[in-house]
Each structure stands twice: as structure tokens, then as C-alpha cells.
Assembly symmetry: C2
Homo-oligomer: 182 residues x 2
């Protein structure tokens, strides 16, 4: 279907370039600065080329968010790999906090509620995968009735999630947050 199997006709790999440009815009100017036309400009294509890869601005944002989930997932997998099973949850939490501190803008895009995963299947898939990994590490005290992990695991998740938001909002710094992981 294409030379590289990924969509490389005229530009090379416009889809990837647009996502990279959007990431840069996101990190420097926040979500509002992510603009289809500016991403196209940075990729060196016309203002309408992005529509061959993303049906809307939201779809581009969703792709950037999905990429964020992939980065987070990899970081968590790396962190959990070298840890004893008992320390795995803590390692997960540390990786989470580190991500929130290092890429605040992506974190906010992923967890700030600007995107509804229901509208973006790919985003929903990677988000679900991340949560699934968390649940499996959080232990087997899942409560099938609620369709969710047990109360202690939920508390642990909420604690880390809240710390991450505080870190992303610069209300506490990363070291202070990590110190809270018992």
C-alpha cells in the first residue's frame, strides 16, 4: 500500500511530522497553541494537507495524547521491569510522577479532560492498556462487581494521580511528590 507501510507518499511521513510538530507546539504554548495550520507550516505543507491524515484538529490532539500514553506506558514498563514485585506499584507511581513533571503539557492533554476517549478509538485503546497495566500491578484485589480495582488500590491510584496533577500544575515539585509514596 506504500513504500514503508506507514504512509510515505509525497512528503515522507507527514503524519509523524504533524504529530511531532503538534507535540512541540503543545509543550511550548499549551493546548490552545496546537493548531492544524501551524503544524502544517512546520511540516512544510499546505494548510489543508493535515486533513489527509487527521479528520479534525481534535483528532490530531488525540494522536498526540495517544503518543503520550505510549511514552508513559514504556516508562512504566521500564520502571517495573527491574523492581521486585512488592516494589512494582511504587515504581509505577514514580514513573507516573516523573512523566507528569517532565512533560506537563502532554500530561494535561491526556488527563485534563479536553478529549473524550469515546470519540477517538486509538486514544481509548492506549489509555485502556495503561490502566490495565496499572490494575495488574496493583494486585489481584480487584472487585469484579464494580468493574474496578479494590478500594486500597483505588486509593493508591488516586493518591498518585492527585500528586501528578499537583506536580503538573507546579503546586508541588517532583521530589516532594515522590517522597509521599510512603
Amino acid at each position: 500500500m506504500s513504500t514503508s507501510g506507514d504512509g510515505a507518499y509525497h512528503h515522507g511521513d507527514l503524519r509523524r511530522s504533524l504529530i511531532a510538530a503538534a507535540q512541540a507546539l503543545l509543550r511550548t504554548g499549551g493546548i490552545e497553541a496546537v493548531t492544524l495550520r501551524e503544524a502544517a507550516r512546520q511540516a512544510g505543507v499546505s494548510h489543508n494537507a493535515p486533513y489527509r491524515h487527521f479528520p479534525s484538529r481534535e483528532a490530531l490532539l488525540a494522536a498526540v495524547a495517544a503518543e503520550g500514553f505510549r511514552i508513559l506506558h514504556r516508562a512504566q514498563a521500564d520502571a517495573a521491569e527491574g523492581a521486585a514485585p512488592a516494589d512494582r506499584l511504587k515504581a509505577f507511581g514514580r514513573a507516573y510522577l516523573r512523566f507528569a513533571a517532565e512533560d506537563r503539557a502532554s500530561f494535561r492533554l491526556m488527563f485534563g479532560g479536553a478529549l473524550d476517549p469515546a470519540d477517538h478509538p486509538e486514544l481509548a485503546a492506549v489509555a485502556k492498556r495503561t490502566y490495565g497495566a496499572l490494575e495488574s500491578v496493583a494486585g489481584d484485589d480487584a472487585t469484579p462487581g464494580t468493574g474496578f480495582v479494590g478500594r486500597d488500590a483505588l486509593r493508591a491510584w488516586a493518591l498518585v494521580h492527585g500528586l501528578a496533577h499537583l506536580v503538573a500544575d507546579r503546586q508541588i515539585d517532583a521530589a516532594e511528590a515522590e517522597a509521599c509514596l510512603s
Copy 2:
């Protein structure tokens, strides 16, 4: 300076009307749906009238966020009033979770990072007041060195904050979150 001391020349109280319209837009369509022109339309004035009360769209959003902080502050004060000192922190948390559940859009505007309090003094003031009330209730185990509450209090705050975000994102429901408050 005016008939009512609050700014009521031609329209009556345009500033308040604009905030109310913006709140409605926020709750139905999210932050992006809050538009100066639409707020003006709903208030029955021309598209430029809002500039007599808000220097920019962001300023209107900041005013809405500040109103959210006032609502939250009042709810917390009401909740803490009838509680024994030992239960006060829990009552605070419950009020916080209830607010996040009942007014998800405002919660996201207030804590989603879209607004930088440094740019909006009034918002910074009410936010600080809310945090101050929380600190005073969280007990006197504040750590002056960090300029912040002690580790246990921070943990408690982060837990509630994380639960509130999960509630606002509809990933858990309010009852489940409240059940996590020990």
C-alpha cells in the same frame, strides 16, 4: 461611580450576565465553547461590549473560575461548620468531591491548568483563600521549611484531589470516591 456600586449603566449588570452566560456555555460545551461573542449574544449586547468588563477571553474564563472557587469555598465552609473538629478534614474532602461531581466543567476550568493564576490576580486570590482554608483544617502539622503542609496532610490533599479528578473525568462515580475517604 454608578447607581448600584457594581457597574450598572446601560445593561443593568453586564459583567454578571456575561459570567452567568459563560458558566452556562462552560457546562454545556466545555471550555472551548466559552466564547466572548456567544456570551455577548446571550446577554443581548454587541460582540464588543464584553471588552468593557473583561480585557480578554481568558479574563472572562478567569472570572468564571474565580466564581467556582467561591462556590467551592462556601460549600466547604458549610460542610465544616456542622462537623466535629476531627471530622472536619473529611467533610472538606466530601464537599470537594461533591463539587467535582456536580460541576465537572468548572472543576476542570479551575484545576485543569488552562489558566495561569499568575495572570489573573483575582483568581489567584480566591484560589489561595481556598487552599488556606484547607491548610488550616488539615491541622497544624505544617512544615514551614517547605512552605507547605506536612507530608500526611499533603497525602490527604493529593488523595482527595486525585479522586476529584477521577470523578470529574467520569472514571469513577462520586459514591465510590467518597467511600475512599477512610
